[in-house]
Amino acid sequence: MIEEKKFNRQYNYAFIDESTKKEIRRKLLKAICIPGYQVPYSSPEMPIARGWGTGGLHITLAIIGKKDVFKIIDQGSDASVNACNLRDFVQDTTACEVTFETRQASIIQTRHRITEEKLQKHQIMVFQVPQPEPLRGVERYERKTRQMHAEADYAKMWVSLYESYVRFGDIMRGAGYPVKVNGRYVMSPSPIPRWDIPNLNQAECLYLFGAGREKRLYAVPPHTDVAPLEFEDVKFKIESFTDASCNLSGEKMAFMDELYHSDGSSSHVVNDSDFLDKVLEKSRPGQWSNKYLIAKLEQLEKEFSTKKSKGNGQH
C-alpha cells in the first residue's frame, strides 16, 4: 500500500513528498515562463504556520538537491530566529551543506532583502512573500485583481501612486515598491527595500517568489526587465542614508539599519550581516551595480573630494 510506504519513513527527502514537489516544480516552470505572473499552487502543510516563510520553504525544498549549498537570511541577517530555525529544518531534512557566505551558496532563501553582494548565474534567490498581490491595496476582491492583471488594467495602481504624490509630495512606498516585469505584469517584489528593487532588473541569477499563506508562486528569470512604476516627472528613488555610515565598519555604500540607543541617540549599521563581516575582514565582495547606486557613489566621491580640498585649504 502507498500509505504504508509513506508512513514507514519519518519523512521524505526534503520533507515534502515527491509528487507534491513535482507539482511545485511544474508551477515554478510556469512562473518562469510568464515572468511576474502569479501561479496558484497547492501550498502543502508544513511544520510551521503558513505566513511564516512556508512559501519560500516550499520552493527551496522542491528545488534543493544533495549538492546544493544553502544560505538563508532574514532581513539581511543569517542569525535571526526565523533564519536559524528554517536553516536547521532544511539541513535536518536534506543533509545538504549550509553556509553564511553569499558567494558559496547555490540557493539563498530570504525574507525582505536581496544580498548586498551581486549574485551570479548559478545562484537562485528564493523570497518568502507575505502578500503576492500588488493590487490588493487598491482592489480587495481577488476575482477583480485577476481580471485586472489579465487585461493589464493598472489604472487604479497608478492613481494610488498619483494620490500618494499629491498628499505627501512623494511616492510614499518604503518596502514592496510595485514593479512592472517584462513590460507586462505589475508584481509585488515582496517587502524588500527600494534599495534592492533595481537589482531585480536584468540580473544574472534566478529570482523565485513563494507566498505560502496566499498559495501563489511567481518568478523573475535572469535577464528580465524589471522597472519600478514611476511617472515621467516623479521618479523612483532609493533610500538615501544621507551622511549615514556604518558605526562598525565606516561603510557608506550599503543598506543600513538605524539603531536607537538608550540615551536617545542613534547610529547606523550595515544590514547585510555577511557583507558586514566581509567588509570588516577587508575582503569586500563585488556589489550590485545600477544607475541609482552609481549616482550615489558619484555623490559620495564628490563629497569626499570637496572635504579633502577644504582640508587642504586649512593647512
Partner: protein, 280 residues
C-alpha cells in the same frame, strides 16, 4: 439630415434577465403593460431597441422608472452585457464592428477614449477613496498620460470649466455637496474629450437651483465642445431643456420618437400623452 453620417448606430439591442422562451419578447411590452413574461417570469429590460445618434446631437430618452432607459446607456458603456443586438461607433474601426463583440481591452479603450458617463449616483462614477483630482487622473492615466504635472494641469482646467473650486481638488468627493460631486463626475467624463457622453439622470436628487446650474453647465459644455450626448431622464423639463430629439420608452419598448418639441406639443402615443399631461 444625412442618414449615413451617424456617430452611433444601435440595432436590435435587447436585454433579458432570467430565462426567456420563444414567446417572451412577443408577450411583453407596452401593449401588455408589463415587462415580465407571464410564462417564464423573465424580465425584458430592453426589447429590440433601434436608433442612431449623429455627431453633436443631444438625444433624450424618457420614460417611467423600470422602462429600460438606463439599461440602454449602461449597456452602451459596457456596464452590462446585452442579450443580443449590436452597436457601431463611426469613430471606431470605421463603424464596421459591433462594439459588443470586442475584447475587454478594446471595450476599455472605447470607454476611456471615446465615451464618458455620468451616473445618477456619484458613487457609481467616482471612487470616493481617491481625491477629485485623482478621479480625473484615473481617466487620463488610462489614456496613457504619465506626467503628474500635465495631469494636474488638465484636471484643474476641467474642474474650473465645471465650476468646482480648484483649491478643493485634493479633497475626496465625499467632502463635497451632491451638486459638486456631480460636477466632478462630469469633469471626469469629459477628461479625454470623448465624442460621446452618456448622462443618466444627472439632476435627479439635486435641489432645483443646483439642477439649473448643472443643466446650464452641460448645455454650455455641449455647445463649446460639440459632444454628442444621450440624456436619460424621467424629468420632461430636463429633456425639454437639453435635447433635440427624444425617444419615449415604456416597458422596454420605444413607443414614440421624434423631435423633442413635437413630442411635447403633440404626443401621439397614449403613454406619451399621459406623461406630458402629468407634467406639473
Amino acid at each position: 439630415m444625412d442618414n449615413t453620417n451617424w456617430l452611433l448606430k444601435v440595432e436590435g439591442l435587447t436585454k433579458i434577465y432570467g430565462e426567456p422562451d420563444a414567446n417572451t419578447l412577443n408577450r411583453t411590452g407596452s401593449l401588455f403593460n408589463s415587462n415580465q413574461c407571464p410564462e417564464t417570469g423573465a424580465i425584458v429590460a430592453c426589447n429590440n431597441i433601434n436608433f442612431s445618434l449623429y455627431p453633436g446631437e443631444v438625444l433624450g430618452i424618457v420614460g417611467e422608472s423600470g422602462s429600460g432607459k438606463s439599461t440602454i446607456v449602461k449597456m452602451l458603456y459596457f456596464d452590462f452585457e446585452p442579450t443580443s443586438g449590436s452597436a457601431c461607433l463611426s469613430v471606431f474601426k470605421d463603424g464596421e464592428r459591433n462594439i459588443f463583440e470586442e475584447t475587454n481591452q478594446k471595450k476599455r479603450f472605447l470607454r476611456n477614449h471615446k465615451m464618458g458617463m455620468v451616473y445618477q449616483n456619484p458613487r457609481d462614477g467616482l471612487n470616493f477613496r481617491f481625491t477629485s483630482g485623482g478621479n480625473i487622473a484615473e481617466k487620463l492615466l488610462m489614456a496613457g498620460n504619465f506626467n503628474v504635472g500635465s495631469i494636474r494641469e488638465r484636471a484643474s482646467s476641467l474642474l474650473a470649466s465645471t465650476e468646482v473650486s480648484i483649491a478643493r481638488m485634493d479633497e475626496t468627493p465625499a467632502a463635497f455637496s451632491g451638486g459638486m460631486q456631480q460636477r466632478v463626475q462630469i469633469s471626469k467624463a469629459i477628461a479625454n474629450n470623448p465624442p460621446l457622453l452618456f448622462l443618466d439622470e444627472v439632476t435627479t436628487g439635486l435641489d432645483v437651483s443646483v439642477q439649473a446650474k448643472v443643466l446650464d453647465m452641460i448645455r454650455k459644455l455641449q455647445q463649446e465642445l460639440g459632444i454628442a450626448m444621450i440624456v436619460v431622464s424621467h424629468d420632461l423639463s430636463v429633456i425639454r431643456m437639453l435635447t433635440d430629439r427624444t425617444l419615449v420608452m415604456k416597458d422596454g419598448h420605444i413607443v414614440e420618437q421624434g423631435l423633442t418639441d413635437q413630442i411635447l406639443q403633440d404626443p401621439q402615443n397614449t403613454y406619451t400623452q399621459l406623461l406630458v399631461s402629468s407634467l406639473l
